[in-house]
């Protein structure tokens, strides 16, 4: 760089050109990807967190009535279903933009281990549903101590 700059003024810098090219390429690729956006996004998106004996499932589902949410746990599977209202008047109104998904939804997930349905808790706050699940006592991994003979 210094070598080039020593000549002063704007001279052709192949590294900068390459940088531009790279930037342009990634922009084009990002564009192409987002237009291919018909890869339906599942609603609601979920995250799953785990620690030794607990699992925490979080779902981004704003605007859902918590009393209308069904959470079912069987063995190592969890299902969450509900309905999301449109929240906007649809009759006699003209849409400028309609990006938010609405209607009935249902998500099922397989969990990394079996959980105890009776110890499952769900809470809804700020549009996020948190489902906490715990491994049943009988399934907890036991540590076997090795005795010297």
């Amino acid at each position: 760089m210094n070598l080039l700059n020593r000549f002063g003024g704007r001279i052709w810098d192949p590294w900068r050109e390459m940088g531009h090219l790279q930037h342009e390429m990634s922009r084009l690729l990002a564009d192409a990807r987002s237009h291919a956006g018909t890869v339906a996004r599942e609603f609601p998106p979920v995250n799953l967190y785990a620690r030794e004996d607990d699992l925490l499932l979080t779902l981004e589902m704003s605007g859902v009535d918590p009393s209308q949410v069904d959470v079912t746990v069987t063995g190592d599977a969890v299902t969450v279903s509900s309905e999301r209202p449109a929240d906007v008047p649809t009759e006699g109104a003209s849409f400028h933009r309609r990006e938010r998904p609405s209607g009935q939804f249902r998500r099922s997930l397989k969990l990394p281990f079996e959980v105890d349905p009776s110890r499952t808790e769900a809470a809804y706050e700020k549009g996020i549903l948190r489902v906490k699940m715990t491994r049943p006592e009988t399934q907890k991994p036991r540590k076997i101590s090795v005795k010297p003979v």
Binding site: R41, T90, R100, I128
Partner: protein
């Protein structure tokens, strides 16, 4: 009132797609000061007889983390999400990223800026932008010279 001009009422700075959560962009060559992801919230914008209703999905945001500003003709909504990976847990499967929200819209003069109201519940921001009573477009009589 002219229906065509109303349709240009809200022009969107950051285009959101219906795919995954889109990250909000900054002008080229600049970065945010906070090293945290910022997403573009999905919105519905609908025009009723007397107002423009803007509904934005901002899960994780409550009334303490929301910021709605109108500066000149730009309406900006920002939402701060608190909460990261819960204590003691490790992320084992991820479909959405956690970050703040930001999106801007340009307003036309047809919006009565002083009458804008906002509420947030269950992660949904609802903004009501009343249309100005008087149409701003005036017809100018042209006399033959």
């Amino acid at each position: 009132m002219n229906a065509n001009s109303r349709n240009q009422c809200c022009d969107v700075r950051n285009e959101a797609k219906n795919a995954d959560k889109q990250e909000s962009t900054t002008p080229e060559g600049t970065e945010r000061t906070k090293a945290r992801k910022v997403y573009v919230p999905l919105v519905d914008i609908v025009e009723t007889g007397e107002a423009l209703l803007l509904v934005a999905d901002m899960p994780g945001v409550d009334e303490n983390g929301i910021d709605v500003t109108v500066e000149k003709n730009v309406l900006t909504v920002k939402g701060v999400v608190s909460g990261e990976t819960p204590e003691g847990y490790k992320l084992s499967y991820e479909e959405y990223g956690i970050g703040d929200y930001e999106r801007s819209f340009t307003l036309t003069n047809e919006i009565d800026r002083n009458g804008i109201t906002a509420t947030i519940k269950d992660g949904i921001l609802k903004l009501s932008l009343p249309l100005a009573k008087e149409a701003t477009s005036r017809k100018i009589a042209v006399a033959a010279g």
